[in-house]
Symmetry: C2
Subunit: 446 residues, 2 copies
């Protein structure tokens, strides 16, 4: 099986008639995607990437990963937004949020904030360790990663000398242009490519995501095979097969009928960063022209003890989408206890997965009854192949969903606004005109 | 200064006339809080806790923390919801999300999910280490912590023998009744109290939060002093002094005027779990009777590169509340670079905090212009005293806010719903009546 979608728990909020009513629109949108005639069509590289990816570079990624694992205790991945979220999400789902505690190679993500103490602490964690750096930035001038790279570059050069430092720095950047590419060529960093036709939030299956994932010891061949299997499975016009299109349709119908929030959740504690990846993917793709479902997330059962009350009984804004993995990675049987102080003996002899499955079904029934329609996305298990399928599923669903909504799912014009303001406040050449106005507006704040 | 509130950036969405119009309501609500006549008044222990806490127990907490630090490499804190969120939030804010990488004592939070692989991995991280356990559960029968404690108890007993294991288990539970208290008395675990009049989400300044925080090496005296200073400062009728009441009023006005979502954010990368704590506090307190602002969170500038587009330009559902720490814990000056490949030399010689402050002011101006009213909560710095103030600020604000909304901010009736369903599906004695109905409803799911 590939990724399944269960739409039986929409509780009459969205009906099969509703689905029928937009089948044509979905087909139309899918057509413009596959013919490359949709809005934002310069950024459709992800669509066929699982088949058309650069095999020579792929081998170099694996070789670089082997080198990092052989000569480093710490890998610093410098990047922000799409330049770190996918890698971190995959590593934490496959290797758990305790990845660094359980692995020989520690991976720290830097350059995604503006915090001196964060940088100082990351440097402290490098003390006495062998360190490599993967700097991920298409332009090389994005503020946060540039700031961090300036610091880590000089740290490596001080520790190893310029020549050896250069062998420990891997640049994932533009193929030909930009300041990081220029620097990398001069210093002799090994380079990997952020393709022109793949936006940041769609880039996890390019070198952007693949190098850190491979360095973490995961099988990127299986990841790509999973994505390719999904790519081939999801071309059908039949929405029971083309599940990402069906998911996009369900989201769109929910939105049109007044739901404003999609709550993504999973019973897998290591799915936290996958939720963050999902939020960027959908939030940045759809949140424009004052439109779009607000993507939020929880982890169950953890957050049933924090947001559970609100979901069950608060403002009726949301529907839920549960990502479920059919087969647990590990399982064991709960032992009986002679004293039974905790009263759990009624489930002694049962597997933990049985308890989790019961919680899942129970919660779904409770939330649906509370007026929260539920969608379930079902993946096979937590491994590279299954995750490759899931990633492609979400990417495809997001594109279809954005196009149904009538927005360009591949741009992010709103992100520039705060940046211009920031450059103006910091007197960056070229932004002087609005500096005074902004100082006036924000006086008293800083 | 104590915690400040800046209301100058509500962009005309909420005016000073609006504030004036509810001053009386706020006073009324505050009166019912201080006289203990509000709804849920059995749970007002947190209100005077910073003054009236049990000093003898407080000393025992510090002694237990010293013992844990002297005889353990790993502390497993078993608890869910309010029984772990506050402790984890404080430890990660004071000690950073890299706390475990930088500290001799590693603290892992267990019993907050139903995952065999999570338990297996946590056990693996205990291999060859000296381990203590703090189990936090008022009743001792909540499913997730009971499940984990059954496993970690037998693990400790196998490793250390029953007697030594008992010296390594600390039970934070009911003062007198419940199954965990009973077991603790029989086994001789040292016990700490979850007070009857303090709900889980308000319990961070009881033994629930204090023992893990003290074990992590933080100064809980300063934390309590901060909370007490806040408690004393926030009794004024003047909303410019009583900032939590002003914050509650602002939230309420925003909600009444159609905002449905509060986005909590901070430029501090280690504020992630404080946001989770805030979500439980407000979500569980207000999300009832189909009412309440939906609490969500981001970290800036990190998430400006994921949710920034949506905030700037997506559906106009939200207002933002930024928690800002005036004085950075660490700071340094960005060095000039001869080649200036990254183009950052225009800020060479500037401190990192200057760059962060600029990003903060710039983003606020951009979002306000995009139709997102902003509130700013200003704390002094990231230390125990300041955090004690901030915690009390949020607790007080939440109570006032819930009462203004007309709900009981101290109960969580909706949380029971999925639990009954779950017990029924698992055939727990007493729930048989709805088992068949639920099986029918959820068939095909599991």
């Amino acid at each position: 099986m590939s990724v399944k979608l269960i739409t039986d728990y929409l509780d009459g909020f969205v009906t099969s008639d509703d689905f029928s009513s937009i089948t044509d629109d979905v087909s139309l949108v899918e057509g413009t995607l596959s013919t490359g005639t949709c809005e934002g069509s310069d950024y459709l590289g992800w669509l066929t990437l699982p088949r058309d990816y650069d095999k020579e570079e792929f081998d170099r990624i694996k070789a670089a990963a082997r080198k990092i694992r052989s000569d480093s205790d710490v890998l610093i991945v410098i990047g922000i937004g799409g330049s770190y979220l996918g890698a971190r999400a995959v590593i934490e789902l496959l290797g758990s949020r305790y990845y660094n505690d359980l692995s020989d190679l520690k991976i720290y993500f830097a350059g995604n904030n503006i915090s001196a103490s964060s940088i100082e602490r990351t440097l402290r964690m490098c003390e006495g360790k062998n360190v490599s750096v993967n700097v991920v930035s298409k332009s090389g001038t994005t503020l946060e990663p540039a700031l961090a790279f300036r610091i880590f570059k000089s740290y490596l050069e001080e520790r190893y000398g310029r020549e050896e430092a250069a062998k420990r720095i891997y640049a994932t950047t533009d193929r030909a242009k930009g300041s990081l590419k220029k620097l990398a060529d001069i210093e002799g960093y090994e380079c990997f490519v952020v393709p022109d036709d793949v936006g940041g939030r769609y880039s996890v299956l390019t070198a952007v995501g693949l190098l850190p994932i491979a360095a973490a010891g995961f099988n990127i061949d299986a990841l790509m095979t999973g994505a390719r299997d999904a790519m081939e499975a999801f071309t059908s016009k039949d929405l029971t097969v083309n599940t990402p299109a069906a998911y996009a349709a369900a989201r769109y119908l929910m939105y049109k009928k007044g739901k404003t929030v999609e709550l993504m959740s999973s019973y897998e504690p290591d799915f936290v960063m996958m939720c963050e990846w999902y939020k960027q993917l959908f939030g940045e793709s759809e949140g424009k022209q004052n439109k779009g479902l607000l993507p939020i997330s929880t982890i169950f059962t953890t957050d049933l003890h924090s947001m559970g009350q609100y979901i069950q009984d608060g403002s009726r804004l949301m529907f839920e989408t549960i990502v479920r993995f059919k087969k647990p990675v590990t399982d064991f049987v709960l032992q009986s206890d002679a004293d039974n102080f905790d009263g759990l003996n009624y489930i002694a002899g049962r597997k933990i997965s049985y308890v989790c499955d019961s919680a899942f079904a129970a919660t779904l029934a409770a939330h649906v009854e509370g007026g929260v329609p539920n969608l379930v996305i079902e993946a096979e298990t937590i491994d590279e192949h299954s995750l490759g399928e899931l990633i492609y599923f979400f990417e495809k669903a997001c594109a279809v969903s954005g196009l149904l909504l009538g927005v360009n799912p591949f741009n992010q014009p709103g992100v520039e606004f705060y940046k211009s303001n920031m450059f103006a406040l910091m007197e960056k050449p070229g932004y002087e005109k609005i500096t005074e106005m902004l100082r006036e507006k924000t006086k008293g704040l800083i």
